[in-house]
């Protein structure tokens, strides 16, 4: 437990000194706030662009608050995921690559504590960044577009947060398996996108897949209902995270250094 605290403190300090604690939450906040603002001013923007054919009027149904929130979540699924993977990809491989791990692992350290500290700091960074961004999106949506059902928004947020946690866990697992940063980014991002795309194509077969989480979150907001397998997807995702963690612990132990 003491070692976990030491490792965790070090991870937090590192994320602070490398400004991850600044730029990741900021990017998430920007992504969150952008959608309602852009939506609100879209008609003006189009008007001022001014090259509409004469006599043509665009009649845009002003979107509801919930719709804007759902669009925000889709934003997170592309740019947000990319930022997340990029900021986490070298968390485990980096120390092995540089060689610091040789000094750390020749000391009587627990591999579980080491990996758990990485996991906890990853979850903290994701949670803070996402909550900040999502809260920002909610605030601006309520101000500029219209009210959002609180229960739906919270539920959607939680499901989406779990999806981000899952993607973060996946990235750390890949980071414990591979060394080249580009490879880690490619595999983690590819796997996460593939999971959510595949759910989009054949939802009936993948109702319990973690890839269902982003879509499920959006469904809460659109209140279409009827989607089954929420509990299943939840359980499977948490199970996957636990398995990823266990896998990373044994990989860290097995590949102590690159020699």
């Amino acid at each position: 437990m003491r070692q976990f605290r030491l490792f965790f403190r070090k991870e937090m300090l590192e994320m602070g000194r490398s400004y991850k604690w600044l730029w990741v939450p900021l990017v998430f906040l920007m992504l969150g706030v952008m959608q309602p603002i852009v939506t609100r001013f879209m008609p003006e923007i189009l008007k001022s662009a001014g090259n509409m054919p004469k006599g043509m009027t665009i009649t845009m149904e002003p979107p509801s608050g919930a719709e804007v929130m759902a669009q925000t979540l889709s934003q997170y699924n592309s740019v947000g995921l990319l930022i997340l993977v990029l900021s986490l990809m070298t968390m485990i491989s980096g120390e092995r690559q540089s060689g610091v791990s040789q000094m750390i692992f020749s000391k009587p350290v627990s591999f579980v504590s080491y990996t758990a500290a990485k996991w906890m700091s990853m979850l903290s960074l994701i949670t803070v960044s996402f909550v900040l961004g999502y809260a920002g999106a909610w605030y601006y949506t309520a101000q500029m577009i219209g009210p959002v059902d609180a229960a739906a928004a919270v539920k959607a947020g939680l499901f989406y947060l779990l999806w981000m946690w899952f993607a973060g866990s996946l990235t750390l697992l890949v980071s414990s398996l591979l060394n080249p940063a580009a490879g880690i980014a490619f595999v983690s991002l590819g796997a996460a996108l593939l999971l959510s795309l595949m759910y989009g194509m054949i939802p009936e077969y993948l109702a319990w897949s973690p890839g269902a989480l982003p879509q499920l979150a959006i469904t809460f907001l659109q209140r279409e209902g009827g989607d089954t397998g929420k509990a299943g997807a939840l359980a499977i995702s948490i199970l996957c995270m636990a398995v990823f963690f266990a896998g990373a612990v044994s990989m860290v132990k097995y590949k102590k250094s690159k020699i």
Binding site: Q3, R17, G99, M103, I104, S106, K107, P108, K256
Partner: protein
């Protein structure tokens, strides 16, 4: 003396290449052993296995503390890698403190020891600076401090002085000299001189096998042979004569190159008499004639080149 470290049949295979080939040795408590070998001999691989970073393919490594073998060696070992790497964003002081706490010191002890060791390795004034701005020598010394902060029983160092300039090398060697009074030391080097300076045991390895091992004094006595080194003038008569001395009965081994020769002989006095007489008869001009004992350096070169 009881061995602190006992290694039996240690082997490491990478794919189909065997890099360490079943080496066995022991290190007695309180001694200083040097793992000596040319580049690529397998020193780093051996040391990584001792430090627990690499899983041996075969063989056993046993560390005995209080007479009993321990299951986990790590609490009793201090290790310095060949090229120590730190977190560049930490200060030297922060890193030492972190290393001390990870090794099991309490917060208070760690803080205390950090101060002591920074001073001891001469980084007292640079403790607050970021490691990213340290020079190679400073990193080496910080690495030494982190290996020693928890008072290990066995200090394992991989080429601790190879990357240092002569002054830095001297600093580190004298530090090791001081440490070895309290701690058993095993370090690798490809420079015989470093080993001779502080060690009492040597293990020469070559291509993954032990070529020679034992007490330094013992080896020095055992393997030192009488040698005659000479250099003659450049004219034909002298050179022809030199080329032929290898065939004399009293010469056990001869290395002749141009105008120089080094002869290993059975008896120096007899050999020098006969050589002199012969040389006079052949009108040879000497530039240098020296008789003495072969050094450990000669032995090392012989082992390495054999």
């Amino acid at each position: 003396m009881t061995p602190l470290l006992q290694v039996d049949g240690l082997t490491k295979r990478f794919k189909e290449r065997t890099v360490v080939k079943g080496i066995s040795f022991s290190v007695a408590e309180g001694s200083c052993a040097a793992l000596l070998g040319p580049n690529g001999a397998g020193k780093t691989t051996t040391i990584s296995m001792l430090a627990g970073l690499l899983q041996p393919t075969e063989g056993s490594i046993q560390l005995r503390v209080g007479g009993k073998p321990v299951l986990d060696r790590r609490p009793y070992i201090g290790y310095l890698p060949q090229m120590p790497v730190f977190y560049p964003w930490m200060s030297g002081k922060e890193f030492l403190n972190y290393a001390g706490e990870l090794a099991g010191l309490t917060t208070r002890e760690a803080a205390l020891k950090t101060g002591e060791w920074l001073e001891a390795v001469g980084l007292g004034a640079d403790g607050q600076r970021k490691i990213g701005g340290y020079s190679g020598g400073m990193k080496q010394r910080l690495g030494l401090a982190q290996a020693l902060i928890h008072r290990p029983k066995l200090l394992i160092l991989d080429e601790p002085v190879s990357a240092l300039d002569p002054a830095g090398r001297k600093d580190v060697l004298s530090l090791l000299q001081r440490i070895r009074r309290e701690t058993t030391v095993l370090f690798s080097t490809h420079v015989l001189h470093d080993a001779e300076e502080i060690c009492d045991e040597i293990l020469m390895i070559k291509a993954g096998e032990i070529a020679l091992q034992g007490n330094l004094e013992h080896i020095r006595r055992e393997y030192s042979e009488p040698v005659i080194r000479m250099e003659v003038g450049g004219e034909k008569a002298s050179q022809d004569w030199l080329a032929s001395v290898g065939n004399k009965a009293f010469v056990l081994q001869a290395e002749i190159a141009g105008t120089r020769a080094e002869l290993t002989v059975a008896d120096v006095e007899q050999a020098s008499h006969e050589l002199m007489e012969d040389a006079v008869a052949h009108h040879v001009i000497f530039r240098k004639f020296e008789s003495g004992q072969s050094t450990l350096e000669d032995l090392f070169m012989k082992v390495v080149q054999a």
